[in-house]
């Protein structure tokens, strides 16, 4: 991301905030429905100073990080297994299809029943929503490793781990990253859903707290923090992708496309 593009983004943001402010002032919108930006800002500062906000952010970030790493790891591992052990793929694919078509969010109440109100059920839910796109990408990538490259592994007497680490995984990284990017936005949603349904900390909990107290400014602060987390997370993965896949055709000329 260049400085110019950040400046453009900031300008758009400033215009949106200005319009918001004008609408609130001109239409005289009651504060319990839509507070003015300055009220949001002061509420943000207040929450941040009481250290409650940082705790909520820490919990949500921790859940997203743990669930995402767990789901991503399992996704790659199972994607590899399904391609290398076709029998396993045939046996498990109906089950996976059922799980994949069911709205993952619907599992949340069950997870809360089983695992309690702690971070456990949220991490599990995030891992589940991360697993599917990553597994699909990984399986597509591993299946597409061309025959001569497999021959190369045989010729050089590579063991299974070397083949995976030195040939198959690098070749499969582009579709794996595509899966990770899809998963990154779903992971944030899953964290919020899990926290909304029952939690003692986290930004989703903050959302429901604001709703219960009829405090729109708390809700809006939580939304803004959540979208910042989602955006930052997505950008982090893009940066990793750009760095790791600099050799790949998909990354050439990407800067020019914005």
């Amino acid at each position: 991301m260049t400085i110019a593009s950040i400046l453009i983004a900031l300008r758009s943001l400033a215009i949106a905030v200005a319009i918001w402010w004008i609408v609130v002032l001109v239409a005289n919108v009651p504060a319990y429905l839509l507070p003015a930006p300055d009220a949001i800002a002061s509420r943000f500062v207040f929450l941040a100073q009481t250290a409650e906000l940082t705790k909520h952010i820490r919990v949500t970030l921790g859940e997203i990080g743990a669930g995402f790493i767990l789901g991503g790891f399992l996704g790659v591992a199972f994607g590899w297994l399904f391609v290398r052990v076709p029998l396993l793929g045939r046996l498990l694919s109906p089950l996976i299809l059922v799980l994949q078509t069911a709205p993952k969010i619907a599992i949340a109440p069950l997870l809360l029943l089983w695992l309690g109100l702690d971070m456990g059920p949220k991490i599990t839910l995030i891992a589940i929503v991360t697993f599917f796109p990553v597994m699909a990408g990984a399986a597509a990538g591993f299946a597409a490793v061309e025959r001569p490259y497999q021959d190369l592994g045989t010729l050089l007497h590579l063991n299974a781990w070397q083949r995976f680490r030195r040939i198959e995984l690098p070749f499969s990284l582009p579709p794996i990253f595509a899966g990770l990017r899809i998963a990154s936005t779903q992971a944030v949603t899953a964290a919020v859903i899990g926290e909304l349904m029952g939690a003692t900390y986290g930004l989703g909990y903050l959302l429901s707290l604001g709703q219960e107290n009829g405090d729109a400014s708390v809700v809006i602060v939580a939304i803004l923090v959540l979208s910042t987390i989602g955006w930052g997370f997505h950008e982090l993965i893009r940066a990793g992708e750009r760095h790791i896949l600099s050799w790949h055709a998909s990354q050439i000329g990407l800067e020019a496309r914005v």
Binding site: P148, Y149, D151, L152, T154, L155, L156, H157, L158, Q162, R166, I167, P170, W247, H248, A249
Partner: protein, 280 residues
């Protein structure tokens, strides 16, 4: 050891003795004329929808140490199958292959594919070093060997280039350097220059001969090109399809080193005409 046996060729019960060359203008390395590969009755069958298909009928072939042997034939004659069986990429349905590789047990064979098969995320140097890295050769030693090989194939200055920045010919040179990196005594090449334009191909043929004379490898070279086979080889094996089998083996007595003069030699043109007729 069964040294100095006249190379013999048996195909489908037909015995073709190949005249042993008595004198050579090209000095052979030490241990030359020692038999290195002994192939006896190697064949490959597979079934498609229950029907048996013979990719390669029982084949006998001997290759001497340091020899350059080309295998030529139309598509489906089993030439690539034979090469892949030798490399261990496919298993034969029967027969025996004996590779006398001295004390170098479990030696990895050098193999050059038609496509370069380079790892696109590794630089030219890293690609050449790849077999050494996976065999846990010390980095400094691997680096110096890879640099030497890149020099041998004329790619000094391109060490850091990624494959996509290299031309087709340069990629194939990297591929050859990689196949040589672990110093195999046998180099198998499966139509290595088939995807290149003629000018590049001619240049790489000359470079291959120079690499061969410097490294003293035994080379088995599969090709579609009559000219390439005649120009490069000590012997040319002509195969015919359905079922794949060895048809004829030609000794090539053109003087070495070969070059532009070889291409003007009437014997060269006679050989090409013979090969072409045989391939009909």
């Amino acid at each position: 050891m069964q040294d100095a046996l006249p190379p013999k060729l048996v195909c489908k019960g037909l015995n073709v003795s190949v005249r042993q060359e008595l004198s050579r203008l090209w000095p052979r390395p030490l241990g030359a004329n020692r038999r290195m590969i002994t192939i006896r009755g190697v064949h490959k069958d597979f079934s498609i929808d229950g029907a048996k298909v013979t990719a390669l009928s029982p084949t006998d072939l001997d290759v001497r140490r340091g020899e350059f042997v080309s295998i030529i034939g139309p598509s489906g004659c089993g030439k690539s199958t034979l090469l892949r069986i030798l490399a261990g990429l496919e298993t034969a349905s029967g027969g025996s292959i004996d590779v006398d590789d001295g004390d170098r047990a479990r030696q990895r064979v050098g193999f050059v594919f038609q496509e370069p098969v380079l790892l696109p995320w590794l630089s030219a140097l890293e690609n050449v070093r790849f077999p050494l890295d996976t065999a846990r050769v010390a980095r400094t030693e691997a680096d110096s060997r890879a640099l030497d090989l890149l020099k041998l194939v004329g790619l000094t200055g391109f060490e850091a280039a990624l494959p996509r920045a290299l031309s087709g010919g340069m990629r194939q040179r990297v591929s050859i350097a990689r196949a040589l990196s672990y110093d195999p005594s046998l180099l198998l090449m499966d139509e290595p220059f088939g995807a290149l334009d003629l000018i590049t191909r001619d240049r790489l043929n000359d470079e291959l001969l120079s690499i061969w004379s410097q490294t003293k490898k035994t080379i088995l070279f599969v090709t579609h090109s009559v000219e390439e086979a005649a120009y490069l080889s000590d012997r040319v094996v002509v195969m015919s399809p359905r079922p794949g089998r060895i048809k004829t083996v030609y000794d090539v007595n053109l003087p070495r080193p070969r070059g532009e003069r070889t291409k003007l030699d009437p014997a060269f043109h006679q050989l090409m005409a013979d090969l072409r007729r045989d391939l009909q």
